[in-house]
Symmetry: C2
Subunit: 422 residues, 2 copies
């Protein structure tokens, strides 16, 4: 007799809807809240979706053979050799993550801070999330020693953690855990007999090619499930497609059977025309590789420019090395913020920036961070333009910061932060 | 600390995959097991999906304004005036049904027999389904008096049923509950304070226009959620789109808030290009109405022809009035089946027909029916052809039973049933 879980709307999607409402009301809002990548669809993908419009069979729950083979190849090119049978597709990596939590069962360890939906999904499965802080400057992975302590304590209290979720590279901080931290996380997971669910949807958005994110699947291959999708590297959020890579071996096979059983009862299969286009994308022809690289360059330029505005104001910020997200901490400005604005936490700071300056951010509390902290998350994915023409220009620009609409947004952020901290 | 639920693969989707495997192995199988409607995509839908391929924003969790307005109009034309704000869209009506069970919470009453996924979904939410038999010849709705007794007994035992799921018209039986039964069901739900979740995905597949299925939303509008989709009337199963219509009033608003919150955390939104095409379909231009009518005529001709084969053999069968499903009961043949074949239940009967005759059916047990009964479900949706040309010809044919591939399938069924019962 489960009580309906107290689940609130995803903070990032709620921010998208609020932004749309305010714009319809004629307000000029700078959105740094959305998780959406506002870039145009690659023409080759558009054509393939149209050409696959006659695909109306449910098809295999786990995804078409073509899609699974292509996704296996994608991982193979990232040092994770994969058999197509290890791949399960879903309408986004979000439903796959939810179904994985159901498939593993038990309680779930998540990093603090972490993406808005992990904790909510854990609650929807009837579990209580156990939030474990990340090491400084290495978001996305619970500190391995703190993880050991938290799991031991939870087990002593009769709880049953069976799974740890990590985000590599990280949302909300745009940082990447070091290879050593990932190795120690994997060792802890093995010692504690935890399944590792590694959300790697930002792995193609690491700015420096020498800086590649290190997957826990390289360190604990027998127990790590990797998820990814095309929402970030190819800006296909609204198309809804994701894939999970199960471990090779007995645990992987057991999880795979459970996962496809659960998927078959919740969503049947993934839209067949989208699978067709995604299979082409996961095979990574030159157009796709070029698009992802252009997006990465654009994120790097704009995210770092926005980061500079925050650090210039006096906020603390770990260097952004991936994604289009940053996570400034206004702690050094605590006194002036309290004195001048009555702002004492991230929620109030977010409210002030929205109401007074029309700049939408998300407070750290949305990511499970300490609500008293003065941390906020900024995302640059919606600064690239409002029209397809502007967005394409941003993607193509050798110097995107010189485009008038991006410059205007940066100036607006500049002015607001300057006024805030003056 | 939830245990991973013991969820098996959806029986209908498993049947699809088994069929594909056997065909790849060169076997010639007649599939009466799938829930898929094997018909080609309407050209207008194909075009609109392709034209909407540039839609890559997440968009509102509940669905685009255009889609919600169109779905509201669709229901308005079916005696259910609807405000677009009452509509929530999802990647299939299946995930909407799952999220609704989560949103309502508590235990769930389902009809016996009923669609394979209701019970599995209830278990995934942590509830135990309470199966209540349907009245004879009126599938899809628990007998209202038996519902009252079952809920009273469950509550006395400390359980907490809050919701009853109905299927109008019915899968697996192809029957339609009478207006009086629906009214009594609605009264019982009101007296027991149950939410009614009415799965009406087959409402456009009622053969006789004078025979329209009566929605519980007409009898208990304050507490009935209606779901539907385009998988059956427009054969778009593989596109994955469904809509829910929430009640007007306070309960509807409360459920709507919960439902969109849950949707935002499980699946974000419904593929945007599919929403665009679906908005056109829900507006029901003449092409769409014509396609649905042609599908209905084809289902009627073939389902009734298959039904005749079963009744000629001596099986009992309530007249099929909607869908492309039928649910014969071989009870009158219990003795010969046991003597000649050692068959004593629906599972064994299904196995015999598959292994000896290459005819795929599903046993009543897959629908939660008494496993000792000799009932099976047959679906005709995969008899219309293997190629797009064949399927289009079946849709267009004034006399589809004369098409060679349909005639061959019917003869094969004839021969198998004849041999079985001889």
């Amino acid at each position: 007799m489960p009580e309906p879980p107290a689940v609130t709307m995803s903070a990032t999607l709620a921010a998208d809807e609020a932004l749309a409402r305010r714009r319809r009301a004629g307000e000029h809002v700078v959105s740094l809240a959305s998780g959406e990548i506002g870039l145009p669809v690659l023409p080759g993908l558009r054509e393939r979706l149209g050409a696959a419009a006659d695909r109306n069979a449910y098809g295999p729950v786990a995804g078409s053979a073509g899609l699974r083979t292509a996704a296996a190849g994608y991982w193979g090119r990232r040092s994770l050799p994969t058999d197509p049978d290890q791949v399960v597709c879903g309408p986004g990596s979000k439903p796959l993550l939810f179904a994985l939590l159901l498939a593993v069962g038990g309680d779930v360890v998540i990093p603090a801070p972490s993406w808005v939906s992990y904790a909510a999904q854990a609650r929807l499965t009837g579990a209580e999330p156990l939030a474990v802080p990340t090491p400084p400057g290495e978001g996305g992975v619970p500190d391995p020693d703190a993880l050991r302590a938290a799991v031991a304590k939870a087990r002593a209290a009769g709880r049953d953690p069976r799974c740890v979720v990590v985000t590599v590279p990280d949302n909300p901080t745009g940082t990447i855990p070091s290879r050593g931290t990932v190795r120690r996380l994997a060792e802890a997971a093995r010692d504690l007999d935890l399944v590792v669910v590694s959300d790697e949807i930002y792995t193609d958005l690491v700015f420096d090619p020498a800086d590649r994110a290190h997957s826990p699947a390289l360190e604990a291959p027998e127990r790590t499930v990797v998820t990814t999708g095309l929402s970030k590297n190819l800006a296909l959020g609204g198309w809804r497609i994701g894939v999970a890579r199960l471990p090779d071996g007995p645990l992987g096979r057991k999880l795979g059977t459970r996962l496809t059983g659960i998927a078959s009862q919740i969503w049947s299969s993934t839209p067949a025309p989208v699978q067709e286009a995604a299979a082409w994308a996961f095979a990574e022809p030159p157009e796709v590789v070029g698009y992802a690289a252009a997006g990465r360059r654009l994120h790097q330029a704009v995210a770092r420019a926005v980061a500079r505005r925050f650090t210039d104001t006096g906020a603390l910020l770990a260097p952004v090395r991936a994604t289009c997200y940053l996570y400034p901490d206004f702690e050094p400005l605590r006194e002036p913020l309290a004195d001048k604005w009555g702002v004492r936490d991230g929620d109030a700071l977010t409210e002030l920036l929205a109401d007074r300056y029309g700049i939408g951010l998300l407070p750290g509390s949305a990511f499970g961070d300490d609500p008293n902290a003065l941390r906020v998350r900024a995302a640059t994915g919606r600064l690239y333009g409002e029209t397809r023409t502007e967005r394409q220009a941003a993607l193509d620009a050798p110097e995107p910061l010189r485009l008038p609409w991006i410059r205007a947004a940066l100036e607006r952020i500049d002015a607001a932060l300057g006024d805030l901290a003056r």
